[in-house]
């Protein structure tokens, strides 16, 4: 009953392009079932990658956060996608459901995050099927980190947190496209992360009820959307417990603003002044 150890994470995911066919874009992957990405053939590979990176212009306009407390993990994010100054969408789903007990957050390039999280979900499922047990959060984050490390320097822009609940309890890892993989209790990622940290660090306690923790996360994301122009839209809050993740709330940031700071009716605002209609 020997279990076959799954070594798929150790295989490289890109192939050496062969130049013998003339168009130079043929795959020669060692294991045909592993999806390989084609690399462009050009004289100055690094220069080309740098130029592409500038052209795509990924900006981490977002705020996401996650923290561990005694009842599991809370994950929260805003929902704005910006391209420079232009808001391309206010309804982006930045919390990606990898499987029923694991969540990933999206910060950086949207396409990169969506693809690689989906890819990670596939790998986790394959691991479950070949090893007859669920993958641990440490293992899943390591899979992703190794993949991202192999694409290091090629212009991927991903700053993600893998949060979930496994046999060892709640797990939270920060993984990014530079190849970093950090374990921790509290993380916030994105352009608004500094503002969110201020509120999160101040209100954090390990022993909290689920509602208190959700309110802290909501308040922190709201604060970040207030100060950071590239964050906004709606705040989504998820909770990951022993039975898996559950979405707790999705509130529009504008409505939250008036909820936290209701409009005070000042006497001046109530006056209706008529402009002089005839010229002197």
């Amino acid at each position: 009953m020997a279990m076959k150890v799954d070594m798929s994470a150790l295989e490289t995911n890109f192939s050496i392009p062969c130049l013998d066919d003339g168009d130079g874009m043929h795959l020669s992957a060692d294991s045909p079932d592993v999806p390989s990405m084609v690399l462009p053939t050009c004289a100055d590979f690094d220069g080309f990658q740098a130029a592409t990176k500038d052209m795509v212009k990924n900006k981490r306009g977002t705020t996401t956060l996650a923290f561990i407390f005694d009842k599991g993990v809370i994950v929260a994010a805003d929902s704005r996608a910006s391209m420079g100054g232009y808001i391309s969408s206010q309804t982006v789903r930045k919390i990606i459901e990898i499987n029923p007990y694991m969540l990933g957050t999206m910060a950086g390039g949207a396409a990169d995050c969506q693809f690689w999280h989906r890819n990670l979900g596939n790998k986790c499922r394959l691991h479950e099927l070949s090893n007859k047990r669920r993958i641990s959060i440490a293992g899943a984050s390591k899979l992703l980190a190794n993949i991202l490390y192999s694409y290091r320097g090629m212009g991927l822009s991903i700053g993600t947190m893998i949060a979930g609940f496994d046999e060892k309890g709640p797990g939270l890892y920060y993984v990014d496209s530079e190849g970093a993989r950090l374990v921790g209790n509290r993380f916030s990622v994105g352009s608004g992360s500094l503002y969110a940290y201020g509120i999160l660090d101040e209100g954090y306690r390990f022993n909290m009820s689920v509602e208190e923790a959700a309110e802290l996360a909501r308040r922190a994301i709201y604060g970040a959307t207030f100060r950071d122009a590239a964050s906004g839209g709606c705040v989504s809050v998820y909770h990951v417990g022993p039975d898996g993740w559950k979405k707790l709330s999705g509130d529009d940031v504008g409505e939250l603003h008036y909820h936290y700071y209701p409009v005070q009716k000042t006497p001046v605002e109530q006056e209706m002044t008529d402009a002089p209609s005839t010229s002197a």
Partner: protein, 176 residues
């Protein structure tokens, strides 16, 4: 935006430094006299300084001529003041709106070195200006009454500003 014997001038309220929001109650539309208003988008400090300079010049004009400046004259004044600083400009794009003789509305906009652009319907400036052009173009009708003009200007401002990260946090609409 121009209506029937009236005009509307509007702005957002955000003051920011690149992505960080500093204030949500920044005043950008200033009064020169009862029937002449100027809105200054761009660098906050230049907007305030330019406004103070223009009020000073207008007060001098009032003392000498014993009347208020006409909007066309004021636009030429702003243009001249901006061009004086041709090689070290004020980083502001003004929008001027006023009622001239017989309450005929006058609007114009300028770039930061004083190129006047007169229009008969609407003028826009700021980080969301492309968005604003689209919104105003589709919502504008000639000869609108003040209430309808207010609705139109508010909707155009809100919809454009909702698509721009660097604008927002409230709006200020003035109808004269």
């Amino acid at each position: 935006m121009v209506g029937k014997n009236c005009f509307a001038i509007a702005s957002d309220r955000r003051l920011g430094v690149q992505l960080q929001t500093i204030a949500t109650d920044f005043q950008r539309v200033f009064k020169i006299h009862d029937k002449l208003y100027i809105g200054l988008s761009g660098l906050g400090t230049d907007a305030q300084t330019l406004y103070q300079r223009l009020v000073f010049r207008h007060k001098l004009y009032q003392l000498r001529e014993e009347r208020d400046m006409k909007p066309e004259t004021f636009a030429s004044l702003v243009s001249a003041i901006l061009y004086e600083k041709r090689f070290g400009p004020y980083f502001c794009q003004p929008v001027i709106a006023g009622l001239g003789e017989d309450n005929k509305p006058f609007i114009c906009t300028m770039d930061c070195i004083g190129a006047k652009e007169l229009a008969k319907d609407f003028v826009v400036s700021g980080t969301a200006s492309e968005s604003l052009y689209g919104a105003c173009e589709s919502m504008y009708k000639p000869n609108m009454e003040p209430e309808e003009l207010f609705e139109t200007v508010s909707q155009a401002l809100m919809s454009s500003v909702d698509r721009d990260c660097l604008s927002g946090w409230g709006g200020y609409v003035l109808i004269v």
